[in-house]
């Protein structure tokens, strides 16, 4: 296994945007060739070498190529977009679209991620060890077909509309989220270990949401199905007692399920 180490120089005021930071683009390339890969700096075409010191050696295939970004890249967008194999580790924060359209491999961010982490994800694993913002594991504007596969884990909190139009795969948020997790969800599994402010599962048609913390406000379009213990969903074993709801009946013939921990959530039971 070979590793390429990118050490960020100072991040510029205007963001850098590139989908070339991924094993698929680095594999089988010399360090100089990697430095020459294109990044967009605002509206100018630049090169990876302008913003990063590049060292190490790439592997012959993406699967044999690790990328370590050793530092904060809070102003770099689309890291690992579309990657199919290999590993990316970021020791710092990342900007929007980390792991978007990802098909395989592993991305680990030891920091926070901005919005649209794992947008339209197809496979692989994305781990954010800090917080994420809005639209984790969501679809692109207008598309009713969002994330279809892979696993996203957010160790911290996320904000609004996570798992929007989700169709498959798993999204696990260990902290809290704000509004509308799983809006328009149509498949897959969303687990929120912390609290939710409002509207989990709005307009959902299918898929499963499990919430272990407190849901402050719940939607009136669901049907209450009593208490269920120790869930097993998509190979994920989840211990505890949960209120079960089906819905959202604002949609036609829905088969979505929302489980909410019994502890502390008596107020949302009719």
């Amino acid at each position: 296994m070979n590793e390429v180490v990118l050490t960020p120089k100072e991040q510029p005021y205007v963001p850098i945007e590139t989908s070339t930071i991924k094993p698929d683009d680095f594999a089988n390339k010399s360090i100089d060739e990697i430095k020459d890969l294109e990044v967009w700096y605002g509206n100018t075409s630049s090169k990876i070498g302008d913003f990063f010191d590049v060292e190490g050696e790439s592997g012959p295939t993406p699967a044999e190529t690790n990328i370590l970004i050793d530092g904060d890249v809070y102003n770099t967008k689309r890291i690992g977009q579309g990657m199919t194999d290999g590993k990316i580790t970021v020791n710092g924060n990342v900007n929007m679209y980390v792991g978007a359209e990802m098909e395989g491999g592993i991305i680990t961010v030891n920091g926070n991620a901005d919005s649209w982490a794992g947008q339209d994800m197809r496979g692989g694993e994305l781990i954010i060890n800090g917080n994420a913002r809005d639209y984790v594991g969501s679809s692109y504007r207008g598309d009713w077909r969002g994330m279809t596969g892979g696993i996203i884990t957010i160790k911290g909190n996320a904000q609004n509309e996570v798992a929007e139009y989700m169709l498959g795969g798993k999204l696990i948020i260990q902290g809290d989220v704000r509004h509308m997790p799983g809006v328009h969800m149509n498949g897959g599994l969303l687990v929120i270990e912390g609290n939710v402010i409002s509207r989990p599962g709005g307009e959902m048609k299918n898929g499963t949401i499990v919430i272990k913390g407190i849901v402050s406000e719940f939607l009136p379009g669901f049907e209450y199905h009593g208490i269920e213990k120790d869930l097993n969903i998509q190979g994920e074993s989840i211990k505890g007692s949960f209120y079960k709801f089906k819905g959202d009946f604002s949609e036609k013939g829905p088969d979505g399920t929302v489980y909410v921990a019994v502890a502390g959530n008596n107020h949302i039971v009719p």
């Binding site: 692109y140 504007r141 207008g142 598309d143 009713w144």
Partner: protein, 576 residues
């Protein structure tokens, strides 16, 4: 600038040229007898030469087209064009509904130089013309929607065909329109109340007039006005299993009306558009079968009719039509996002994304029905190439449709490997081995639309005096067999080696070279009867005061909305 195109295999059906090597001389935007020795020579050896393509029915400019773009950013993202600021080439996006600049570029790249916007609501006509401004290269025109218009329905109901003709001639002028478009007559008005009409004998609410009466009335009006194009008819019951009977009955209505347009050489009294969607048998989607052979037989036996197909290309696309209730039905069928716009006193529209999956039975049958119609109508001068873009699929798929038509092998490959078995079981496609020639292709995409649109004086042929709109495609008939090498048909029509528009090279090697060339707007300037027009306009004005939400004064399209006007002079005072 003078050019001479030499050594190409020329297909020019209106001049009966079938692949012979004929020199084409170009001067001042026109095709001429001869050019000087200074003329630039284009060597078209091993290539085919045709007049520029003409699309007689497409949705490229106007309110509902733009809503089609608006509701589908995920479609826009699928095809992207970068700007080239130094050349004037603009950016664009959109697979099924490209943005305006890109629409012009994509048509031109395929060798198309004229396209007709098939549905223009009078009240929103300015919008259509504004989008034409931003659609480069193509000559164009828009068909004025009249099949659910309150004035038309009222005058026809009262039996006052002269007033109906007067209003039609005035509104075409006022909207800078080109033809009378009829969409689900009576049905879209019924949709104003959430309803529809079924068949041609079902009266629309309040106005109490049937689709059949509207079709017959407007067909008569059309020939009283001696318009270049016939009525352009989108029949009732679009997309319903069993609708072929409605279609046959509708097509019979304009039969026998005397046809004598002021310009052009049209002899037909009805153009049935996207007829694929109107050739369905069965009673529901489960026993759904093709009735294409029945419809084709009618077309073969009758000379008052032309058709375009509305071929399904098996893509994810965006459906859009003035047939408001039909789009609502699609929305309830596929559950995808739905846009609609009802337009006061005039018409309506709807828009829904649609996935024509080759794996699904119904789209596969629809695909096969379109091809049956192309192949079973014997005379290609009665047939025009369309996908009803973007309804059956985007216009950028025309080259692929050509390959299906020219190669039985291409169709066998589809039937055996790609589409659902219903395409074979529910249609006769697998039993047809006819293959189109390049001459046939030139007819359906060039000469047939030129004649039926009444533009064949200057369009759709390569004779002296024609506009120098010419496409050169890289296909060598001496050593390439279209039947075997159908992939090459598609690629050679997708990216022309040369396209001339008004005598200028606008595309070379598949790339647009003059991105800001602006095409003409054709519209019909006629006057049925000056006295009667005064009276009708004053009646219209009274209705405006009470029931429209804009003032009459601000209604007609002002001249400055048409950048390069090409008025076609119609009748003058014929109704006296």
């Amino acid at each position: 600038m003078e050019y001479i195109i030499k050594n190409g295999n020329v297909y020019d059906p209106l001049n009966k040229i079938d692949g012979e090597k004929v020199d084409i001389s170009i001067k001042d935007g026109k095709i001429v007898d001869s050019v000087s020795a200074d003329a630039k020579e284009i060597d078209a050896s091993g290539q085919i030469v045709m007049p520029g393509g003409i699309d007689p029915h497409t949705h490229i400019a106007g309110a509902k087209v733009n809503v089609g773009r608006l509701i589908r950013p995920e479609d826009s993202k699928k095809d992207t064009e970068f700007s080239k600021p130094d050349s004037g080439k603009r950016a664009g996006t959109g697979f099924s509904v490209p943005s305006t600049f890109m629409t012009g570029y994509r048509y031109a790249q395929m060798g198309y130089t004229t396209a007709m916007e098939a549905a223009m609501p009078p009240l929103l006509a300015r919008h259509t013309h504004e989008e034409f401004h931003a659609t480069p290269i193509l000559d164009h025109a828009a068909f004025t929607l009249l099949g659910n218009n309150w004035f038309i329905m009222q005058y026809l109901k009262e039996g006052d065909i002269d007033k109906a003709a007067t209003y039609a001639s005035w509104i075409i002028k006022a909207t800078k329109g080109y033809a009378i478009k009829i969409v689900n007559p009576g049905g879209t008005e019924a949709w104003g109340w959430g309803g529809n009409v079924h068949g041609i004998d079902d009266p629309t609410p309040y106005f109490d007039i049937t689709g059949g009466e509207i079709i017959r009335g407007l067909a008569e009006v059309n020939e009283m006005l001696r318009l270049p194009h016939s009525i352009h008819l989108h029949c009732n019951d679009l997309g319903h299993p069993g609708n072929y009977e409605t279609t046959l009955a509708s097509l019979d209505l304009p039969k026998g009306i005397k046809v004598d347009p002021v310009t052009g050489s049209r002899k037909t009294s009805v153009h049935a558009t996207h007829i694929q969607y109107h050739s369905y048998g069965g009673t529901n989607w489960r026993d759904f079968v093709s009735e294409a052979p029945t419809i084709a037989d009618y077309v073969n036996k009758n000379d008052h009719i032309t058709i375009d197909i509305g071929q399904v290309t098996l893509d994810e696309t965006t459906t859009m039509t003035a047939d408001g209730p039909m789009e609502y039905d699609i929305h309830t069928l596929n559950g995808l996002k739905w846009a609609n716009c009802d337009i006061e006193l005039e018409t309506g529209s709807g828009i829904v994304p649609f996935i024509y999956s080759p794996k699904a039975p119904v789209p596969s049958v629809q695909w096969a029905i379109g091809l049956e119609l192309f192949l079973l109508v014997d005379d290609a001068s009665k047939v025009c190439m369309t996908t009803d873009s973007p309804n059956g699929g985007p216009f950028t798929r025309y080259p692929r449709v050509f390959s299906w038509l020219m190669s039985n092998k291409a169709r066998e490959d589809m039937l055996e490997n790609k589409v659902h078995k219903w395409a074979e079981k529910r249609t006769s496609l697998a039993t047809i081995d006819r293959e189109y020639s390049f001459y046939d292709i030139a007819q359906i995409s060039r000469s047939s639309p030129a004649v039926v649109l009444g533009l064949s004086d200057t369009k759709g042929h390569l004779g002296v005096g024609a506009d120098a709109d010419i496409a050169i495609h890289n296909f060598n008939i001496d050593n390439q067999d279209p039947s075997a090498d159908y992939g090459a048909i598609e690629s050679s029509f997708q990216r022309s080696s040369y396209v001339f528009k008004d005598g200028k090279i606008v595309v070379q090697d598949g790339e647009v070279t003059i991105p800001n060339h602006h095409g003409r707007t054709f519209w019909v300037d006629s006057l049925y009867n000056a006295e009667l027009e005064k009276q009708v306009v004053s009646e219209v004005e009274n209705v405006f005061k009470q029931y429209y939400s804009v003032n009459f004064e601000n209604y007609p399209v002002q001249d400055e909305y048409v950048l390069k006007p090409a008025p076609i002079n119609g009748i003058k005072e014929a109704g006296k």
